[in-house]
Each structure stands twice: as structure tokens, then as C-alpha cells.
């Protein structure tokens, strides 16, 4: 990708003004941190954080064939969705490899709304359009800014700038055509990528700064702070959410990743189904597991995973988890090493560092 002309969200000036450190991410110039990753991470677990995720894409599929098209495109079952309901799903190639992982909401009988990853948005739209029949697929990414408001104080803060009764908006539901901070044409979903309660608020592209400022003002006393991509990554890793391009990609299937729960083999034909049925029958060649380091060392993307001296896989994500306060990672290993408690090692700078397989997620909020 040519990076000489990075894209910027409508919140760019606010990030600069807020003292953010900016980095390239998926062709976008985005804030990686403001006050610091650890401080931001803790703020989301304790109070609330505000994220600019306007770089993410949106694709709408509308028409008589909308449901059938969505069903063909994703592994999860959209037929069970009533209006306002949504779900998380991989979207697969015929090989079972993952084109992207996304959320899709049913906004009407014949209308579905995908929210997709930034780095794959263009390719996703091409893929969705190619496999949409008797309906129209529209790339709406440029129309919408997107903010994520996450943390235990998120509902209280958002409630101050919208008249929508957020108590009625349950997990993985979306309401569109709503007003937020005086801005019309917004949508709100109760979703996130942090392991906390929270919302994602979409709005007309240029209105994002107005909503950002209104939320910061409404939430400042509750400890609301801006959060960069650095803490977004550590938060999602503690919650064991997949990062596309690291943990999953076109070479991994949802059954190898811990996404079996999103694969509904009992629904009608969908792209990738044959391979996934076969994998289910014969077993997967490798499986993504979580692990904790037993010594002071930090696993990183790409490091080898070992059993004794034998290579059994590689790390896909790793960090020091600021809230769980230990070094954690995820990676693919051969099936005999997936049992929690199983000892493995991570090769770090030529030396094996001891680790133990653990059940995912690393962090789960108390109800």
C-alpha cells in the first residue's frame, strides 16, 4: 500500500490538539496513545474511554435478496436476527480462510449493515458486492464517522447526550436514525472490542468532532479519557478478541481460531462451508490457544512456540496485559498442546521462556 498519502478521520485535529502520538494503521494516520497505554487501559476498565474508530468500514446490503446474500457471505446465522439485532461473524473464502471478521446488524426485513475492519474495507466491499444477488451492496464507509465509548461508566455518559433509552438497547443490538449530541442520522450499537460494557456510535462523517466533544464534556467528571490504538490492542487481547491480520487471516479458518461458535453448519449453503464441514469431521491441524508466561518475558507476534525443542506453532498476539498484570499471548499450536495447564515455551531472542496454556479470555468483567 502506498503510504505517502495517509487518510485522516474527521477527528484528526482533535487528536493532535489532545497530544496524541500518531501512527500509520491500515492506510490511516491514527492516534496510538494519548496519556500512555497503561493509563488509558486502566481508565477503560475502571471508568470509560473514547476511541476514534472512524477508519472502520460500513457496507449496507438492501433488497429482496439481502438475507440470502448475507447468509451466503457469513458463517454465523443472520436468519435469527430480528430488526435491530446483530451478530459477530467471520466471512470466509471457499477455502475456509477468513476474508474478514465483522459485525452485521439487521436494520430492516431486507436491510443489513456490516461494520468491517479498516485495512480490509475495500476488499470486503468488493467481496460482498460480488456475492450479493437480488439486492444492492453499498460501501458507506466514507459517510460515517465511528466512535467507541467503552467502560463501566459508558452508559451513564452516553445517556447524557441522547434521548434514546439505553436500558432498552441490549448487547449486540443497534438503533439507527437516532440523534446524539444534537446530531441527527446517527446509529448506536451496544458493542465493543474491550471486554467492557459500551457502545459504538456512528454519525455523519463531519459530525464526529461535535459528538466527541460532547461526550468528553459529559464524561470528564466520570474519568472519561481518549484512548489510542495501543490500549485498544491490549484491551482486546485481555478479552481475547481476534485481531484480523494477526490472529486470523485468509490462511486460518474459524475452527482453527476459537470461533467455532460462529460457524453454523446447520444453516443453508455458505461460502467455505464444505471445508469447514470436513475440518469438523477430520479435526483441525492446529488451534489458537491463549497462554500466560511463567517467567518475566513478553511474547510478541511472530515468535516461535515450542514444546521441548520442537516448534509447535507461533505467537499471533502478545503483550504485557496492563490489567491482568502479566505477560499474555495467543498463538496457533498443534492439537495435542491445546489443553489448559499444558506447558509450552516461547522462543524469545534465542532462548525458550516458559509458558502455560490457559483458558480464554484472560479477562472477563464481573457482571
Amino acid at each position: 500500500m502506498a503510504v505517502d498519502q495517509l487518510k485522516r478521520t474527521s477527528l484528526y485535529a482533535i487528536h493532535v490538539r489532545s497530544g496524541a502520538r500518531l501512527v500509520e494503521f491500515g492506510g490511516w494516520e491514527m492516534p496510538v496513545q494519548y496519556a500512555g497505554i497503561v493509563e488509558e487501559h486502566r481508565a477503560v476498565r475502571i471508568a470509560a474511554g473514547l476511541f476514534d474508530v472512524s477508519h472502520m468500514g460500513q457496507v449496507e446490503v438492501e433488497g429482496p435478496g439481502a438475507l440470502d446474500s448475507v447468509q451466503r457471505l457469513i458463517t454465523n446465522d443472520a436468519a435469527r436476527l430480528t430488526t435491530g439485532g446483530g451478530l459477530y461473524s467471520p466471512m470466509c473464502l471457499p477455502t475456509g480462510g477468513i476474508v474478514d471478521d465483522l459485525t452485521v446488524f439487521r436494520l430492516g426485513e431486507q436491510r443489513f449493515f456490516f461494520v468491517v475492519n479498516a485495512s480490509t474495507a475495500e476488499a470486503d466491499f468488493a467481496w460482498i458486492r460480488e456475492h450479493t444477488t437480488n439486492a444492492t451492496a453499498r460501501n458507506r464507509s466514507a459517510e460515517f464517522g465511528l466512535l467507541a465509548l467503552q467502560g463501566p461508566k459508558a452508559a451513564a455518559i452516553l445517556g447524557r447526550v441522547t434521548r434514546i433509552n439505553l436500558g432498552d438497547l441490549t448487547y449486540f443490538h443497534m438503533r439507527d436514525g437516532v440523534e446524539v449530541a444534537g446530531v441527527r442520522g446517527c446509529f448506536i450499537s451496544r458493542t465493543g472490542y474491550t471486554g467492557e460494557d459500551g457502545f459504538e456510535v456512528g454519525c455523519p462523517w463531519d459530525a464526529a468532532p461535535r459528538i466527541w466533544d460532547a461526550l468528553m464534556e459529559a464524561g470528564g467528571a466520570d474519568g472519561l479519557v481518549p484512548i489510542g490504538l495501543g490500549a485498544r490492542d491490549t484491551l482486546r487481547l485481555e478479552a481475547a478478541y481476534m485481531l484480523y491480520g494477526n490472529d486470523i487471516d485468509e490462511t486460518t479458518t474459524p475452527l482453527e481460531a476459537p470461533l467455532g461458535w460462529t460457524v453454523k453448519l446447520d444453516k443453508d449453503e455458505f461460502i467455505g462451508r464444505d471445508v469447514l464441514v470436513a475440518q469438523k469431521q477430520t479435526g483441525v491441524p492446529r488451534k489458537l490457544v491463549g497462554f500466560e508466561m511463567l517467567e518475566r518475558a513478553i511474547p510478541r507476534h511472530g515468535y516461535d512456540l515450542l514444546s521441548g525443542t520442537a516448534k509447535i506453532g507461533h505467537v499471533t498476539s502478545g503483550t504485557f496485559g496492563p490489567w491482568v498484570n502479566k505477560s499474555i499471548g495467543m498463538g496457533y499450536v498443534t492439537p495435542e498442546h491445546t489443553r489448559p495447564g499444558n506447558r509450552i515455551a516461547v522462543e524469545i531472542r534465542g532462548r525458550p521462556a516458559q509458558a502455560a496454556v490457559v483458558k480464554l479470555p484472560f479477562y472477563k468483567r464481573s457482571a
Binding site: 496510538v32 496513545q33 500512555g36 497505554i37 497503561v38 495501543g230 491490549t234 518475566r296 518475558a297 513478553i298 510478541r300 503483550t319 504485557f320 496492563p322 505477560s327 531472542r349
Partner: protein
């Protein structure tokens, strides 16, 4: 902010002469850039270190960086306190956040490093 009695490397380490030995750490500039330091891999006591060759590793939440020795010699002491409190490198990089103490081969080697005036100019900050 940047002590006058230290010498500074282009890779943002500092060196301080203490009775013929050289104490080594990373500069405030480097610590701020890394932010959130969570792990420091120290050299072994007795290890030989070479001028501007890697002698340790420092990890922030986000990134892994090498520590370069600003002097050739033998490691005589390491800051083992960083094992439990690596964040001290962030909070006191020129003091309690020191990393290793070296018995130098030749103290004159430090003349190759920057003075505080040269260093703050290189990083575009005030002394």
C-alpha cells in the same frame, strides 16, 4: 532535565563516570518515547560489552528495543531492582532507573559520546 555530568549516545543511552567505572542507562527522551516500560533484560555480570553494540533489551507494552553499551568493558553490576519495578526507568531514567555498571577498557572512549549540549540539540529539547 539532562544532567551535565553525563555523556550521551546517538541511541539515547547515557554514561556516567563513577570512580573509574561507568554507570549506564537510557535517557529521559528514550524512556518517554518508549513509555510504559514493563520489562528490562539485563546482561550477565561478567559479560563483555562492546561500544555501541547491544547489551540488553528494554520492552514497553508496545515495542521491543535494544540497549546499546556506550562503552567497551566488563559488566560488574546490573540493576536487579528493575526485575520487579521496570517502570522506574520511566519515572527516574537518569537515577534509580540505571541499567548496568561497566568496568571500562578505556575511559577515553567516552569522548566519542555527546555532551549534554550536543545531545539536547540532537533531540531538539532544552537542557
Amino acid at each position: 532535565m539532562y544532567p551535565k555530568d553525563l555523556r550521551y549516545s546517538s541511541e539515547h543511552e547515557w554514561a556516567k563516570v563513577e570512580g573509574g567505572r561507568v554507570r549506564v542507562g537510557i535517557t529521559k527522551f528514550a524512556a518517554d518515547k518508549l513509555s510504559d516500560i514493563v520489562f528490562v533484560e539485563l546482561p550477565q555480570i561478567g559479560a563483555q560489552v562492546e561500544f555501541m553494540q547491544p547489551c540488553g533489551v528494554i520492552e514497553s507494552v508496545k515495542a521491543v528495543s535494544d540497549i546499546y553499551s556506550p562503552v567497551t568493558g566488563r559488566v560488574v553490576e546490573v540493576n536487579t531492582a528493575l526485575g520487579d519495578t521496570p517502570e522506574v526507568v520511566n519515572s527516574d531514567p537518569h537515577g534509580r532507573g540505571w541499567i548496568l555498571l561497566v568496568e571500562p577498557k578505556d575511559l577515553k572512549e567516552l569522548d566519542k559520546l555527546m555532551t549534554v549540549e550536543q545531545y539536547v540539540k540532537a533531540i531538539g529539547e532544552e537542557a
